[in-house]
Each structure stands twice: as structure tokens, then as C-alpha cells.
Amino acid sequence: MRPRIRTTAAVAVASSLALLTGCGAADMTKQASPFANAEGARTVTLSVQSWVGAQANVAVAQYLLEHELGYRVDTVQIDEVPAWDALSQGRVDALLEDWGHPDEEKRYVDDKKTIVNAGDLGVTGHIGWYVPTYFAKAHPDVTDWKNLNKYADQLRTPESGGKGQLMDGSPSYVTNDKALVKNLDLDYQVVFAGSEAAQITQIKQFAKEKKPFLTYWYEPQWLFEKVPMTEVKLPAYKEGCDADPEKVACAYPHTPLQKYLNADFAKSGGDAAALLKNFTWTTEDQNEVSLLIAQQKLSPEEAAKKWVDRHESDWKKWLP
């Protein structure tokens, strides 16, 4: 009796495993999140990037999807480059704010056709070097890169090893700063804060003491409302001057931020895909929501609700 039971058990285990995952090929680039579409609810999975502006986009999209269209929305925090990969695999359905990744665009949109562009977000992004406005007022010539070496002494910190400190943020962000410092012959050390949260916390602490600092920063960003900052002029940006990452010696471009959707979702995502394609708003709108989240510490949902209540005419146009 016993051996037979054991064989039966083995067969049962093997066949249930085969049943569980199927016998043929299993393309894991077509597997959705296990938390998606639970209990018959229609689910959209949005990727959130680590900066608050991206959280604001997602919060408003999520609010409208949930309250106007009856979807269930899952959000996953992923950095931009991995988000492209996740988008291509269908682990997430949408990336709402992309700052320009030509390599990934070529690979996934042009070659593999697993991702489609869903148009402008409506916000134009710009990366640059910034000093606090109180420092720029006291020393107006600091806003030209040619004079930066004069101030290296004042911008020294324990971390910058005898040079001035240029603070960079998260490693996921687009940055040429190390090459810029080298190619422009600046007496500065790039110090990576490691995450935007750490960078913002540090900027706020500097600002509270009215200490000078030089930081990689970007617009649109809610922190400008709290800590006014002035951009340092770098050599002007020309098309293609940042082609070779080792030899960059020019400023960052102004980038119209883009939305991207998973190709299958864009085709069969119904109302949700339509809403996300129509979603465009202005820098002011985004900052309004970002400030509510980051400064007033509202939950993203409450912040989105406030914006939605105030701007009905704006979002009504997005509804399919």
C-alpha cells in the first residue's frame, strides 16, 4: 500500500505544479503583478519614482482612476531605468514622468515595441546647479560658473575633502556632474547624497542656518517654494553637446517630460489607458500637489483630492 501512496503523491505534486504554471513556454516578460486584478476588480499598476513631483502625478491619476472610473490602483516605487524594464515586462502599466532616456527609448519603443509613448506630461523639466538665493544676493557673481572656484572655500564640508562641495542627489537621476567638474576645471568634489530624501533634508538644514551650499537640483520642484534657490549659469546647452558623457562641458537641456505606457495596456487598457493618455497638466498644478504632500505632509490621496476639488474643469477633459 505505502509505495503506491507515495507514487500517487509524487504524481499529484508533479501534475499540480505543471497545472500551476502550464507545460509550454512561460514568457516572464508577460507576467503581471500578483496583486493585480484581484477579485474581479480592474486594476492599474502605476510606477512611482522617488521624487515628489512623480508622486503628485501618480496621486492625481490614482485618485481619478479610483473615484471617477472605479479602478483599483496599485503603486510600486521604482527608479526610472528599472521602471522602463518593468514597464516593458508589464509588471507596471505606466510611467508618468520620464526625464529622457534615449537608450531605453530605442530598445523598448523602437526595437521591441513593448512600450509606447503616451505624449507630454505638460511639464518641462530642467536640471541645473543651484545656490540658495540668500547667498546669491550677497555674492551676485556666484551665479556664473567661471567664478565658482572663488567660493570653493566657503562651500567646503567635512565630506568634500578640502574642495568645495557640489551635492548630488539620488544615483538614479540623470547627471553629468562629475564630468562637468572635471572638464570645467572646478575645485569641487561631487558628494552624492544617495537619495533625494537625504538631499532635501540636508538642504533644509543648510537653509535654516543660512549657510551657503551648491547643489544639483531640478525644476519643477516644490522645495523652491520653501528654500528659494538661484541657478548657476553653466556654458550654454547646444544640441548634441552632451553626446559623449566623458566630455560634457555644457548645461543641461530643457526636457518636455514624457509619459510611457506598456504597449498591451495602451491597446486594451480601456478607460484607464485613455485617461492616462489624456493626462496633462502644468508645472503649477504639479507643484501645488507636491507642496501639499511634502510640505503640509498630507497623504498623497488627500493632496490629490484637494487638487481635484479645486480644478474640476481641468481634469474633466481627461475623462474618456
Binding site: L17, L20, T21, G22, A25, A26, D27, M28, T29, Q31, A32, S33, P34, F35, A38, E39, V48, S50, W51, V52, Q55, D74, T75, V76, Q77, D79, V81, P82, A83, D85, A86, Q89, R91, R107, K112, T157, P158, E159, G161, M167, P171, S172, V191, F192, A193, G194, S195, E196, A197, A198, Q199, T201, Q202, Q205, K208, E209, I293, A294, K297, S299
Partner: protein, 649 residues
Amino acid sequence: MATVTATAPRPAAPGLLGRPAVRKLAALAVVAAILVPLAHARWSSGSWPAALTVDVSGPLTDTSTWIIDNRDSHPLFLYFFGHISNAVVLAVRGVYLVLLAAGWAGVTAAAALVAWRVAGWRLAAGTGAAFLACGFLGMWVPTTQTLALMVVAVLASVVVGALLGLAAGLSDRADKVLRPVLDTMQVLPAFAYLLPVVLVFGIGVPAAVLATVVYAAPPMARLTALGLRGADKEVLEAVESLGATARQRLLTARIPLARKELLLGLNQTIMMALSMAVIASVIGAGGLGDRVYQALASVDVGAALAAGIPIVLLAVVLDRVTGAAGEALGEEPHPHGRRLWLVALAGAVAVAVAGRLVGRLDWPDAWVLNIAEPVNRAVDWMTAHLYSGVPVVGGTADWAGRFTTWVLDPVRDGLQGLPWWAVLLIVAALAWLIGTWRTALTAVLAMAAIGVLGVWKPSLDTLSQVLAAVAVTLVIGFATGVAAARSDRVERLLRPVLDVFQTMPQFVYLIPVVALFGVGRAPAVAAAVVYALPAVVRITTQGLRQVDPAALESARSLGATPAQQLRQVQLPLARRALLLAVNQGVVLVLAVVIIGGLVGGGALGYDVVFGLAQGDLATGLVAGAAIVCLGLMLDRVTQPTERRARKGA
């Protein structure tokens, strides 16, 4: 370098040197005297010579591109990894759907009733309260997602771990192969192996579950092997003399005898899986960990805490319940055991069905308590008042600055300024003094591998942070441990604090440390100290308390003051425990110093974060490998091993 330590253990100049430590050092000095001039002439001193590095970035980048391009077409992915990934997705989804169908009331009732049967009424009440607290914090859905992921990950870890443990427990050869691997896995920072998993499986739940299994299975394997090997010889002989076959012996004697170890293994596996569930949020695990991670992006400590508390509660509940189950083993089974289990099952089903009928499956929004705001106000107050300008002692920012300039910088510059062969010699000397020539060889090879990978400088930077953090941890930890060992009241007060700090996800205290210490290496060190302290305090206290009371009594009767008792009796007798505390402290500190890359710790931690964020396998994997080597080296240098059979000497 293999020749250095392989030839080293020759018995040194006879007669002259009696003590083994001196003998070892002398032997090492002889070897160094021969090899160092050679190395110096060949490659010069200073930093690791470029001639001895291998650039692996080209092949790694090619591999990564190949994987991305072939992930949806190559048979290896379609027929192997694809099925694994699919099975994980389906299993997690299955558990998630069951949890959702049971609703919050059903899940809470089921958990409480299981705890009741396993561990009694008090823990059942605690379990119920913990699950309700998750709901009150507004975290019900993330909690179920984390639970679904945990159930699958823990089951898989237990199966994998038990199979490996079975192999190691029954076969000596398997044991010899597996033991060093498992020992090494135990000391690896979780952050180091996220990247390869992500590359193959992509961001998302499958990668998260698999990374968790890799992290959580080793303790199960080790303890299974330990339990099987530790079985009472006489019982086994008795069973054998009854004519039982090998399989019958295993099933009826060895496994039942190893129950305690198996349960302890389960307990540890659950704990490791839970801590990994948070770290894995970086690669898309979702659930509670993801909420912590998202909250940190907007510097919202309160919201991070709201998601962190459920994790702590789950950890404490699971720990206590599995612990109680282990203690209950061997007691007389309850006469109506089976009937009571049925009652518990029926109760859980009844509550779930009732919840369904009432239509209250989702946690009601109105019952959510917002703790984020008061917490944030407290944090703001703390940072506003402590950051700088505190009279006399100066603010925390000043301390951090001074710590960086006076401690971190000199240690780092000192390490980086040492000739490369000197670093290897120091490592060899330390590891050999405390262990055997084998541990010394492993440590030296690990350190040399770092140089070969071409990340010598950043690795020494990370090492300097680890050393500084360990020093601080040991000073505070030993002091607190001594206090707790002397007074029951202190220990009772400390216990819940230690529990919370040990289970709180490391991510939660990254932001407060930035607010207090600014961006840089100092906050990374501070976070590491906070994380490693509980283990050090606990081990120290236990070690001191286990000192033979008779020895203490006799010291007291000889008129020794408490300080003398401590210094001359307790500390020497607790030496093993203290060394273990050092070892644990080093391993834990390394794990957090790496995560410190998120707050400006730089060095290897930053490279790993960069690799993950940019999908850059070359940078991330090399840094990950260097972290592995560093962990291995630190473990060997601080791990006292008894001399095994001296084959080489």
C-alpha cells in the same frame, strides 16, 4: 597570495617561542620578510597595483545586455526561469486572494486562533491586537500583500532549507561542501544580491520572493543539519537494533528528535524573510516595505513609521508564537487537542463568513488613525532643537562634523595610505591569531579578491566606516550590557526597546539620522550603530549572566569590589560571548553601512544603489562582490574557531 599563508603554518624557530600567538606572528613575519620585498620590487607599494586587477565591466555589460535582449525569447528563460517566476506569481496571488476573501476580520480571527492553539490565550490576544493595529494604521491592504509574499517566501525557504539541511545532516561530504557556503551566506548583507536577481527576473514580486528565499533559507538549513547531527546516539542505536531501515530511522527517530532545532530554524527563517521583505521593496516587492520606501522619498518619517510599526508587530508576534511553539514541544499533548483545533478552524471560518455577509471585507476608512502628523511634529522639533547651537555640547551636526574629520577621515586615509601588502598582512595576522590558518587564508584571499576586482579604495572607505561604527557600538553596547547584567530592572526596561530596534526596518531610521547628522558618512555610521546595538547588548548581557555563580561568589567572599568582580571574573569568563558580540556587531554594522549609500555613505553602498538605480550590472555586481568579500573577511577576522584537525600544520 596563496603561498603566503599556505606556507606560513610551518612550526617556527623551535624552543624560542612557547606561546602559539607569538609563534604564529613570528611565522607570519618570516613569510612577510621574504615576500614583501619581492612584491614591492615587482608592483611597488601604495594602493593595490593596477597590474593585478581584472576589468570585468566589459563582459558584465555584455551579459546584462544579452539577458535583457533575450529574456523574452531564449529557451533558458522561457522554459526555466519563466516557470519559476510564473509559479511564484501564481502562488503569491493565490495566497493574496485567500486573504482578501477572508477579509480583515477573518484573517485576524484565524491568526489569533492559531496563536491560541499554539501558544495560549495571552499570545492569541496579542496577535489579534497586532493585526487590528495594522488596520488602524491604515495599512491593511499592504499588510495582506506583505503577508502573501511572506507566506510563499517562508514556505519556499523552509522547503529549500530543510532539503539542504537534510543533505548536510545525513552525508558528511555534503556537510563539508555546504557548511562554508551556509556560513558565508549568513554574513552577507542582503543588499548585495538584489541586483543579479533583478536582472534575471526583472523588477517585481518574483525577484523579491527569490531574493528573500536566498536570504532566509540558510538558517533553516544550518539548524536542520545541526538537529540531525545532534540526535542522541543511544536512541539511534536502539532504533537500529530494532531492525529499522535507514528511512524509518530518519522518519521515526532523527527528525522527531530534531524538532526543537527545526522550529528554531523556522523562527529564524521567518525573521530573516520579514526583514528582507522590506529591503526587497527596492526591487518592487510592494506591500509594507514599499510604503516605508515611498514615505522616505518625501521625508515623511511619520508615514514611514505607520508602515514600519505593522512590520515590527508582525515580527514580534511571529517570533513569540513560533518561540512558544518550540517551548511547548515535548510537553504532554492536550487531551482534546484535535477537537480544539477544529473549534479554532470553525471559529475562523465563521468570522470570515460573517464578515462577508456584513460586507465588511475591506478595512473601513473611518477607522484609520493618523499617526503621521504627531510623529512628524516630534521629529521636526527634535531636529530643530538638536541640530546645532545646543549650548556647551554643541549640536548633532557639529558632532557629526567632528566625528567625520577626527575619526572617519583619519581612519579612511590611514587605511588607504597603507601599502596593499600591509593590509593583507594585518588581515592575516588578526585572522590567524583568533582562528586557524584556514580562516586566515580565507580572509586574505577575500581581501585580495577585492583588489583584483579593482575596488580597493572604495572598499577601504567602507571598511573605515565599519571599523568606526563597530568601535562606537562596542563601547555603548558593552556598557549597556554590563548595566543590564547587573540589574534586572534595567534589563526589563531595555527588552522592549531592543525588540523594537531590532525588528524596525533599517530604512525607517535613515531619514531621522540625516536630519540629525546631515548627509555623509556620519549618518550611515549612526544608523549602523543603532541597528547593531540591540544584538551586542543582548549577547553581552547573556554572556555576563551565564558566568558561573560559584566563581562570582568566591570572588565576592575574597572581598573583591563590584568593579573588580566585573573586570577580573565576569569579563574574562564571558570572553566567548563577548567575542561573539563583536562578530555579530561587525556583520550587522556592515549590512547597514551598505544601506548608508542611500544617505551619502558613498563607497561600496553607493555603487550598489547606483547599480540598482541605473540597471548597471558592471558597477553594481562588482560592488556586491566586494561587499561579499569584505563581509567574509570581517567575519573570519572576528570569528573565534576551535582548532580543527591540523592537516596543514
